[in-house]
């Protein structure tokens, strides 16, 4: 342990703690722009400088480990003047049209400028405006807002190992762009949006569908159905100032209904359905021994990652569509048929914690209903703003149930939103499918939580199934490299079933979550999903009465021909240069 003082406050912290975190111990928050609690410090902004007695000059708190006996001062006149100067320099090269910025009121630079009391800009502005990158269907990049803090780069290259974004060019011409400056839509970007949620300013944000959805809602000729992903119910409260991870399922249904959607349905319903399809697929692969391990397919960021960097894993992928797309296919067929609505009039909207879902719904093969199955995807942030625009406050809403016949869900569905959840839900039902008996203890704790790659061995009446769970594409890469090596060496892998989610923490850590997120918040949201699971009367997907009904009335049985047509999909090989589908 190291003993030191911060502004005369004594502290004791473990060796290697940097001054930024040591100061928190003493009750001082040192301002910073480039530092993020989940990422390595890069030292770009210099805002966090402090003075240390006996050491000349100023030191970056984020990169300086505190030493024994250090006397640190975090807001001397010199430090405060320097910080102001630095922020002024940043503002001289920043598009400061804050009122029309997507990050207005949520911008770390805006907050910092306010905190430091900057009210005059002493430096001439750089007037040159750079073009905004609109090439991606998921993410917009505005270089005029970018402060080159490097967070997006680190998350894209180190955490996700996608390397779509990088620092290109040099000096004052430095830009964060894709290869050849071709734009995110013409790159290997997997649309996961981790860059978006790590951006401190308004340089990265989702491509919004709010206007289109408003238009559909206000169009009397349209029947607008909405589905909400499992994770959204533990995220939406944050948009209204509720504590992180507040569970608002019922309030969410009520607010969506008041917003004007014609039917408030549930992605959770198709999550249960996914388990039936994927679970059946697992059993048949375990039986045949072919294409093992089976790998989950719910996360569209992960799918594009696999298609781009791991072509040879395509046969291992579950062919089951994601819950969003299963919902889409059923809304314009089964739902339309049962409710007697012309599917051409149905506008299918989904509320997602995800930016990649915007890409997924526009994939050309996602039109099993004969229409684009899902028309618009809104992130949690977008729907939160729309609710506020309509004068709704989620805190004030009553608890309401979803509508039938695509609304009912079990606890197994709701945990899809947390890493390991799909795996756990699948095992709950696979056990029944194989043995005909119910799994007594449905909670499979080894696959829960935010530690790295998780492994477990499940005993299904003597049959041992080795499973692994990865959350983040970096972990997926590590796991798949291992699987590839094993298959190359021994002809088979030690794993039979793998869950991959593109985002750290799973969907509760998706690119569509509220601004200002971190791993601690992701963990909290995940715990709330497990709480909802415990609170629900039914916790196994195969017990969902609406699921049983749809098989009885419409789909016949899991993996039937009809189920295959509507609920299963195929994958493409993509170029590692521009992410486009390769011919053949």
């Amino acid at each position: 342990m190291i003993k030191a003082t911060i502004n005369n406050v004594d502290i004791e912290v473990p060796e290697g703690t940097n001054i930024l975190w040591a100061a928190k111990k003493a009750g001082f928050t040192i301002p910073t722009l480039c530092n993020h609690p989940d990422l390595e410090p890069g030292g770009q902004c210099g805002i966090c400088v402090v003075e240390i007695e006996g050491i000349p000059g100023l030191k970056r708190a984020c990169m300086t480990p505190i030493g024994e006996g250090f006397k640190v001062r975090t807001h001397t006149p010199r430090v405060m003047a320097t910080r102001k100067q630095l922020v002024e320099l940043i503002l001289s090269n920043h598009d400061t049209d804050c009122l029309t910025c997507v990050k207005n009121n949520n911008c770390e630079l805006q907050q910092l400028a306010a905190t430091l009391g900057i009210n005059v800009l002493d430096y001439p502005k750089f007037e040159e405006k750079l073009p905004i990158d609109h090439t991606s269907v998921s993410i917009v990049r505005d270089p005029n807002k970018c402060i080159l803090c490097g967070r997006c780069i680190q998350v894209c290259s180190k955490v996700q190992t996608v390397n779509a974004l990088a620092v290109n060019h040099r000096g004052c011409d430095t830009l964060i762009t894709t290869a050849f400056d071709a734009g995110l839509g013409n790159s290997v970007c997997i649309n996961c949006g981790q860059c978006v949620v790590h951006c401190p300013v308004g340089a990265l944000y989702e491509r919004s569908a709010a206007e289109e959805v408003w238009e559909a809602i206000h169009d009397p000729d349209k029947f607008v159905v909405v589905q909400e992903a499992p994770a959204v119910r533990v995220m939406l409260g944050e948009e209204f100032g509720m504590p992180t991870g507040s569970l608002v399922s019922g309030k969410m249904h009520a607010a969506l209904r008041r917003l004007g959607f014609d039917a408030v349905l549930e992605t959770n319903f198709t999550a249960d359905l996914t388990i039936m399809e994927e679970g059946t697929e697992l059993i048949s692969r375990l039986t045949s021994g072919k294409n093992l391990p089976l790998i989950t397919s719910c996360s569209p960021g992960w799918i594009k990652f696999m298609e781009t960097f791991y072509h040879d894993m395509i046969p291992h992928m579950s062919t089951a569509k994601s819950p969003q797309q299963m919902f889409g296919a059923l809304a314009k067929t089964y739902y339309a048929q049962v409710k007697g609505i012309d599917p051409a009039k149905i506008v299918s909207v989904s509320i997602m914690p995800c930016t990649a879902k915007k890409f997924e719904c526009q994939r050309p093969e996602m039109n099993a209903s004969g229409y684009q199955d899902v028309d618009y995807v809104l992130t949690t942030r977008e729907i939160g703003r729309m609710m506020r625009e309509a004068g709704l406050d989620i805190k004030e809403m009553p608890d309401e149930p979803p509508d039938d016949i695509l609304g009912e869900y079990t606890g197994a569905a709701t945990i899809f939103g947390a890493t390991g959840g799909v795996m756990e839900a699948a095992v709950r039902s696979a056990y029944r499918l194989v043995t005909g008996k119910e799994l007594e203890d449905v909670e499979i704790k080894p696959v829960r939580g935010l530690k790295g790659i998780k492994e477990a061995e499940i005993d299904i009446e003597g049959t041992k199934v080795k499973v692994a769970v990865a959350h983040s594409c970096g972990q997926a890469r590590e796991l798949l490299d291992k699987v590839q090596d094993q298959i190359a060496k021994d002809g088979k892998s030690e794993y039979q079933f793998i869950e991959v989610m593109a985002c750290p923490g799973g969907c509760v850590g998706g690119g569509g979550q509220s601004w200002g997120s971190n791993m601690a918040k992701r963990a909290r949201r995940g715990e709330s999903l497990y709480e909802e699971d415990r609170s629900l009367p039914l916790r196994r997907s195969h017990e969902n009465p609406s699921v049983l009904a749809i098989y009885e009335k419409f789909l016949e049985k899991p993996n039937s021909e009809k189920a295959h047509k509507l609920l299963h999909t195929h994958y493409y090989k993509r170029s590692a240069v521009d992410g486009k589908i390769l011919p053949g």
């Binding site: 390397n163 290109n168 060019h169 290869a179 050849f180 290997v188």
Partner: protein, 165 residues
């Protein structure tokens, strides 16, 4: 500054150079640390770094395309646009600058109708700046290909470069 043995023969089609690039890449297969070295060699082959060459280098050295692009756009030496038959380089080292090389550069940009780093449409000239070529005694100095010109005055610029076809 000599630009090494750059290929200026326009008649050799770019496509014919790719097998030679493949050979270079083979020597450095999977060695990301050799990236800059390989890019030097590629540029010596093509005179610049065409997009396809960048893609091949990324794949061969097992680095992301963006890393390749990031490196290329960081270093002055690398160019992603084809070079002209004649390379005009104006020294902006301190000694030359003080003696008016910026004026010469402005004139060159105006006369050639291109910016620094650019190539004229007829591929006759490429324009670049260099930082001190050690010819400070001749300031302001410029280079056309391997020929050095000292005490260049902007009115004489055209007379000099027009000698090069």
């Amino acid at each position: 500054m000599s630009q090494e043995k750059q290929c200026h023969c326009a008649e050799i089609q770019e496509e014919e150079l790719y097998p030679r690039l493949e050979e270079v890449i083979k020597e450095h297969k999977g060695k990301g640390e050799d990236l800059i070295m390989v890019l030097h060699k590629a540029q010596n082959l093509f005179g610049y770094l065409p997009r396809k060459a960048q893609e091949l280098v990324a794949e061969g050295l097992n680095v992301s395309l963006n890393e390749v692009y990031g490196v290329i756009t960081f270093y002055n030496f690398f160019s992603t646009v084809p070079q002209g038959r004649n390379s005009v380089k104006i020294c902006l080292g301190t000694a030359c600058y003080v003696r008016g090389s910026q004026e010469v550069l402005d004139k060159a940009q105006k006369e050639l109708g291109i910016k620094v780093g650019g190539t004229t449409e007829d591929r006759r000239y490429s324009l670049d700046v260099v930082r001190c070529i050690g010819a400070c005694g001749l300031a302001p100095a410029m280079l056309v290909n391997d020929d050095v010109y000292g005490r260049v005055k902007s009115p004489h610029l055209l007379d000099i470069i027009e000698k090069y076809e």
